[in-house]
């Protein structure tokens, strides 16, 4: 018996079921999108692509706390196939009572690896020792304009800098939430000498050089660089002293893999985060099942009539599936949209941050697909389960 023509389900009652599914979908989407956003912001923090290599301190517990010799940047730059070599020092700091990450850079080298466009003011050069460039997101958050003076407090050591904001830039990446300053200023703020930086990022032409060749070069340096010797300086104000270092402490990997290794160390893999999000939905599934039971209970009389005119359990079950499945798909869509919108509003208000960097909210196709599938499966399971109850009731 075909029940498609029978309009026995009250739309008013379906709305309650629909709202439950919308909220469950929203819960899953908020959890998954924010977790994955958090993951991707850290994962791509130092740049994406296999041609960006990071030289880092293997012994550091965080990507911000290690130290490697500065001169390696200049040394590696001389290799054929190395397009840019950017020594960088990352300093957790406080500006206007807000936690901020400040990055000491050599502007010319940095710009070849991380692209950004200037929105206001001018770019800093290595000699602009009391000047800073601020990311657009951060300047809005701190309400800072070009020409303003900022007081930067270091977190790790007893140091502060008074800087003039020379420019505001935008890159659509994590550095939009950072302050860029000349390398030597970063070293003062970090409390380290000019011979060390947090990491060195290298841009390579993969056809000419690979990370193994670079590592070999560093290994050779480790044996040669005993004691401090002067090399060719990058600029007037950056000394290029060769300092001794222990090879075992130097790590070298693709920038993205380097960040991923930190995340993996703490069990924060993409898969684990999706499993965690799915668990959230599973925990909310009892509410979905309860909503399904309620909607059937509310239509008991109508179903009794259908049964009395010859509709089988199976026919009712199929009809319920046919009639409720579009609602389920609609609920998933609305849930995803509402979750994205909510996260974007929170992000714009600066309430969605990890390590003082805004978490990007991007639609993730596998997560969206998973949302549709899970909500549909939960709806179907609830209906199948309820059908037994109807039979039992009669």
């Amino acid at each position: 018996m075909r029940l498609t023509g029978f309009r026995y389900l009250s739309r008013r009652r379906i709305v309650l079921f629909f709202l439950t599914l919308v909220l469950a979908s929203m819960l899953f989407s908020i959890t998954a999108l924010s977790f994955l956003g958090y993951y991707s912001s850290l994962d791509s923090y130092l740049g994406e692509g296999e041609n960006i290599i990071a030289i880092y301190d293997k012994g550091s517990r965080t990507p911000f706390s290690g130290l490697v010799p500065t001169y390696l940047a200049e040394h590696i730059k001389s290799l054929n196939g190395v397009l840019a070599s950017s020594p960088e020092i990352i300093i957790p700091s406080i500006v206007k009572d807000q936690p901020v990450f400040v990055r000491g850079i050599i502007p010319e080298e940095f710009a070849q690896i991380s692209t950004y466009s200037l929105r206001e003011g001018g770019e800093i050069s290595i000699n602009d020792v009391n000047q800073a460039m601020m990311g657009k997101e951060l300047s809005e958050k701190l309400n800072v304009e070009v020409g303003d003076k900022i007081l930067v407090h270091s977190v790790l050591v007893e140091q502060y800098l008074v800087l003039n904001v020379k420019g505001i830039f935008e890159s659509h990446s994590a550095i939009d939430d950072e302050i860029l300053i000349p390398l030597c200023c970063g070293q003062w703020l970090r409390g380290t000498d000019q011979d060390h930086v947090t990491l060195i990022r290298i841009k390579i032409d993969k056809n000419k050089v690979d990370k193994i060749a670079i590592f070999k070069e560093i290994a050779e340096e480790a044996t040669e660089a005993i004691g401090n010797q002067n090399g060719e300086a990058t600029s007037d104000i950056i000394p290029n002293r060769r300092v001794s270092f222990v090879l075992e402490k130097i790590g070298l990997d693709e920038a993205q893999k380097f960040m991923k290794s930190y995340l993996d160390k703490y069990g924060m893999t993409k898969e684990n985060l999706i499993i965690l999000s799915v668990t959230t939905l599973i925990f909310a599934s009892a509410t979905i099942i309860m909503a399904s039971k309620t909607i059937i209970q509310q239509h008991e009389c109508e179903m009794e009539v259908l049964k009395s005119i010859g509709a089988s359990d199976r026919a009712i079950k199929i009809d319920l599936l046919v009639k409720l499945m579009p609602w389920s798909l609609g609920a998933s869509t609305l849930g995803i949209m509402m979750a994205t919108l909510t996260l974007q509003i929170f992000q714009r208000n600066g309430q969605l941050q990890a390590f003082s960097h805004r978490i990007p909210v991007q639609p993730d196709i596998p997560t969206i697909t998973l949302n549709f599938v899970l909500i549909a499966v939960l709806t179907a399971m609830a209906i199948i389960h309820l059908n037994v109850e109807i039979t039992r009731n009669y």
Binding site: L16, L23, D148, L151, G267, F283, T287, T294, Q297
Partner: protein
């Protein structure tokens, strides 16, 4: 009759599933809170390993060096009088035009009331005349000297507010601080009045005895001029608080969604109860119970199931988090996660879930209680 009716409803088939639905939702909240508590504790522990200095600054209220404010010598004296200090240095930071031979540069100048003391505190390595006492002698930072090609003994012309003064560079200093990019000169050369655009004053001091930050701030507060404040130079505590606040901000957003699901779950629980027990409720109404009694009954039932669900959920959440933490420790040996829930957080969850539940059940309960025909109400 109320108690009997409530007992009857609580024995309904749908009650356990209602409690389960709420408890699972609360379990998610409890486990997430307990894990985030662990993370925040870890960041606080890690911050304990960093040695914190005792240097303070008196600056403008907008976190900038004081602009258009005259810092009197008296304020520095007040600081010294209020607490035993290792040093108190008044500084004036401004930009000036420096001319060396034929080249002109815009540079940053730091005028301090005691140059020698300032350099000693910065552990400066001086090339040139160490301990110059002449008021017309200044020191150039190493980086500034490189950029502007000045040497020890050079005569330079500093133009401050269109007034040129000729001074001699007594030495080149390396301090590994921002002063390496500045010209350091005695405050007596430029005066204490704000005169040039963009200049700023501030006072730097370090108490002799390390005291609690709050004590220092409270003791100085009554003596500070308007638009000024005292801040610690090394702000690890503020940084950690900011980091934790970012995590909690996300948790709040996420919790809102959970409470919205609790709200809708309570709505469903009430609708389901009222549909399932429509016959019994009709009888109760026939026996003389008014709309308000039915409303109270529905509200009490939903609240009871929510409270039971919340208590079970809180316990389950913490247990799940701890079991998961143990499993993580077995798999990733390095990672030691110890989730826990604070009493105030449990109370907060308890109150917020109760509130969501009450809001969720009010509408269907009211509709049912005051509907003329029970069958058509829901």
């Amino acid at each position: 009759m109320f108690t009997h009716a409530l007992k009857m409803f609580l024995r309904k088939r749908g009650t356990p599933s209602a409690v389960l639905a709420i408890s699972l939702l609360i379990a998610i909240l409890a486990s997430m809170n307990s894990i985030i508590n662990h993370l925040n504790t870890q960041t606080n522990i890690l911050s304990g390993y960093v040695s914190i200095g005792q240097q303070y600054l008196i600056i403008g209220i907008n976190y900038t060096p004081l602009e258009d404010i005259e810092i009197s010598k008296e304020l520095a004296n007040t600081v010294e009088a209020l607490m035993e200090t290792r040093y108190v240095i008044t500084q004036k930071l401004f930009t000036a035009n420096m001319t060396t031979k034929s080249v002109s540069h815009t540079i940053t100048v730091r005028a301090v009331d005691d140059v020698q003391e300032f350099l000693r505190l910065r552990s400066a390595v001086i090339k040139g005349a160490c301990g110059a006492s002449d008021d017309t002698q200044v020191y150039a930072g190493e980086i500034l000297a490189k950029i502007t090609s000045i040497n020890s003994g050079d005569q330079i012309t500093l133009t401050i507010n269109n007034a040129p003064i000729v001074i001699e560079v007594a030495g080149i200093v390396t301090t590994q601080t921002q002063s390496d990019a500045e010209l350091i000169m005695p405050l007596t050369l430029v005066g204490r009045s704000p005169s040039t655009e963009g200049e700023g004053f501030f006072i730097e001091f370090t108490p002799k005895d390390p005291k609690k930050e709050d004590e220092i701030l409270n003791s100085l507060a009554p003596y500070l001029p308007p638009n000024t404040k005292v801040v610690k130079v090394q702000q690890l505590k503020t940084f950690m608080q900011g980091m934790n606040a970012q995590t909690l901000s996300f948790l709040e957003l996420w919790s809102l969604t959970i409470y919205a699901v609790v709200f809708i779950a309570s709505y469903i629980i009430t609708v389901r109860l009222l549909t399932e027990a429509s016959y019994e409720l009709s009888v109760i109404k026939a026996l003389g119970a008014g709309g308000s009694s039915i409303f109270k009954l529905a509200l009490t039932y939903t609240l009871t199931t929510t409270l039971a669900g919340t208590i079970i959920g809180l316990a389950t959440g913490v247990v799940i988090a701890q079991v998961a933490a143990t499993a993580v420790r077995w798999i990733l040996i390095d990672v030691n996660v110890t989730p826990f829930l604070e009493a105030w957080q449990a109370l907060q969850i308890f109150l917020l879930s109760s509130a969501s539940s009450i809001f969720g059940c009010v509408l269907p309960a009211l509709k049912f209680a005051y509907a003329p025909h029970i069958e058509s109400s829901l």
